[in-house]
């Protein structure tokens, strides 16, 4: 069984290499036949990858403990669903699953865009083939995913990983990561093919939004797991592994904004390409970090892995290749329309991108410095969560406040009189909320949160109210229909507002839980003993090492 699985992966690798070479030659010779053959090569890779995955899943279901992955992460008494998800509990298994998802998406993209974006797809097929070669090399040469177990002793999945969140979190994470490989390949393909139009951004927007959504939800589900399992001191500890999921999401947030602006205004072209490249590169940093490339992480048992040098080499190849493409095709990155003033909607989007990149830089340096100091200077440097709270925290607040400014600005330029007029209501409403909180003695930080989060919240409410009123007045629709059609007819803009409300709510939650934690110390002397605390029952079960109460205090 293991031999057959390994053989199918080797066949996938052979056809991925062929597809990469055939794409390059088809571009050079302008051969549609060779381009079609390269496309079929991608389909062959997907088929062999799927076969390998099915063989591994069959081995997990049938308890084939001769395979090391099964012996290490599964056991006979494990629930069926956890036997399946044991696949991505393993360092090689998770990479195989991620690579397989890229092959699925590559086939979907090939069928979706081959007609309308034939020129771009010739390059994108080649780039995706190279990415698939990388993943296949990792799971066959770097780590043998079908490696035979020296003994048939089963270890099973750790109790903390047998949790609903751990069924969903890796799945969504890899869906997001795989999606950004597609965005990267298509973006770089558009640049390399000299596609002198912004229509490609419309074609890739849904891929970017899908990946951004899944990665965002994956991070939230991961935080839920950390909170529920309770061993990591809350829902977010700024651990390198957590940061590895956060950084690409932050960059992707800037990317979806850039794509929207380039699509509509032909502005932020260099930003879109750079963000597509760096979002993908930062998804690759994740296996580098989780496989112990920086330091041993307590969150995943992937330390002492041979993967980091492979990942680092591939990151260097991607960065060098992208830099070369940008230098070669820089004439296609000139913005078509520049705003007359930075005090405009375009200017606000640019500023948003800058802030997001600044947050990523804070998190990046806070994450890599301890590992770098140990590797290069043999010195132990500890970066506490205080560093992240004091750098990324306030910058995030500026970003949230900016969400309230942007909708008040017009395209290209904004008159200060109009801006003042539009900002009066949100400013007054958030100021009143701030004053009420200060007077009622709830707390100074909540007052700050009310000001920072209240301003964008009231701006969004004002936009909805004005938009509905305008449709009611000009189109004669009733208020409910006018409100629904306002959102439906302007989905990118008003859908974005719904996301912004979500971010505002998360910010309020983070401020509250970070600045007003409820810490209690209780003594329970015997196993099974319990105490009642603010309506929650806390029971002591030494063998389970987890709380059984459901109500949360903070």
């Amino acid at each position: 069984m293991a031999d057959l699985g390994y053989t199918t992966l080797i066949l996938a690798l052979v056809f991925a290499v062929y597809s990469a070479i055939a794409s390059a030659v088809s571009v050079r010779n302008k051969s549609p036949e060779l381009a079609a053959s390269a496309r079929n090569g991608i389909i062959a890779v997907f088929i062999f990858f799927t076969l390998a995955l099915e063989i591994m899943l069959y081995a997990l279901i049938t308890n084939d403990f001769d395979i090391k992955l099964v012996a290490l992460h599964s056991s006979e008494d494990m629930p069926f669903i956890y036997k399946l998800t044991a696949l991505y509990s393993d360092k090689a298994g998770s990479l195989m699953f991620w690579g397989w998802l890229i092959s699925v998406f590559a086939v979907v993209l090939t069928f979706q865009k081959r007609r309308a974006f034939n020129g771009i797809m010739r390059y994108a097929t080649g780039i995706l083939s190279i990415i698939l070669v990388f993943f296949l090399v990792l799971v066959t040469i770097g780590l043998d995913v079908f490696e035979e177990s020296p003994t048939s002793v089963m270890s099973g999945l750790g109790q903390t990983y047998q949790h609903t969140a751990m069924l969903i979190h890796p799945l969504l994470l890899f869906l997001g990561f795989a999606g950004f490989a597609i965005v990267f390949a298509f973006a770089l393909g558009s640049l390399l093919s000299g596609h002198n139009s912004n229509d490609w951004t419309g074609a890739i927007r849904r891929w970017a939004l899908f990946s951004w959504c899944t990665l965002g939800i994956a991070n939230l589900v991961g935080a839920w797991w950390a909170w529920d399992v309770g061993n990591w001191g809350g829902y977010w500890a700024w651990d390198p592994v957590e940061n590895a999921g956060l950084m690409p999401w932050l960059l992707a947030t800037a990317l979806v904004h850039s794509i929207a602006i380039q699509h509509k205004r032909g502005y932020l072209k260099p930003w879109t390409i750079l963000l597509a490249v760096f979002t993908f590169v930062f998804t690759l940093l994740s296996p580098f970090i989780t496989h112990g490339g920086l330091e041993e992480s307590p969150l995943h048992g992937f330390n002492n892995s041979p993967v980091p040098p492979y990942v680092l080499s591939f990151i260097i190849i991607i960065l060098a290749g992208s830099a070369g493409a940008i230098a070669w095709r820089r004439q296609y990155l000139v913005n078509e329309a520049k705003p007359q003033s930075l005090i405009s909607r375009e200017g606000a989007f640019l500023f948003t991108n800058l802030i997001l990149v600044l947050i990523v830089l804070f998190v990046f340096f806070g994450t890599i410095i301890p590992g770098l100091a140990e590797d290069l200077a043999n010195r132990e440097v500890a970066i506490e969560r205080d560093f992240f709270d004091r750098t990324a925290g306030p910058t995030l607040l500026v970003l949230v406040f900016l969400m309230g400014i942007c909708p008040l600005l017009g395209w290209r330029k904004s008159s200060s009189a109009l801006f003042r007029h539009n900002a009066i209501f949100p400013f007054l409403a958030s100021s009143i909320a701030t004053m009420v909180i200060l007077i009622s003695g709830i707390g100074n930080w909540y007052a700050l949160a009310a000001l920072v989060c209240g301003f964008p919240l009231f701006t969004i409410l004002q936009e909805w109210f004005r938009g509905t009123r305008t449709r009611h007045r000009t189109k004669g629709e009733n208020h409910l229909l006018a409100f629904l059609l306002l959102i439906w007819r302007n989905r990118p803009r008003y859908g974005g507002f719904i996301v912004h409300i979500g971010i505002i709510l998360i910010t309020i939650g983070v401020i509250g839980s970070s600045l007003y934690p409820d810490d209690f110390m209780v003594n329970v002397m015997w196993a099974g003993g319990s105490v009642l605390l603010l309506g929650a029952i806390i029971a002591f079960w030494p063998e389970r090492q987890r709380k059984v109460s459901t109500p949360r205090l903070a």
Binding site: D3, L4, T7, T8, I10, L11, V14, F15, Y18, S19, P32, E33, L34, A35, A36, S37, R39, N40, G41, I43, A44, I47, F48, R114, R115, A116, F117, N118, G119, H195, S197, N198, D199, G202, H263, K264, P407, L408, L409, G410, W411, R412, K413, S414, S415, L418, H421, N422, E463, R466, G467, T470, R473, T474, R489, N490, R493
Partner: protein
Amino acid sequence: MVYLIGVILFLGAALFVGYPLFKAESKKEATETNQETQVNQAVIRSMLEELELDYEMGNISEEDCRELDAKYRAELN
């Protein structure tokens, strides 16, 4: 046995991948220019709708609205 299965799979896939090389590609692929023009016009129309809404909501002045409206309509034609 595994090697035999591997060889059969390889040959099957090689036929599938090599098939387009012996067949003239269909000319059905739409020209990118047509697609590009259609997409660009759709984008400009959505920009005009958004501009109208922004003006009616009081987010931009009449002067700016007229200027941008003329610019977008020129691009549409």
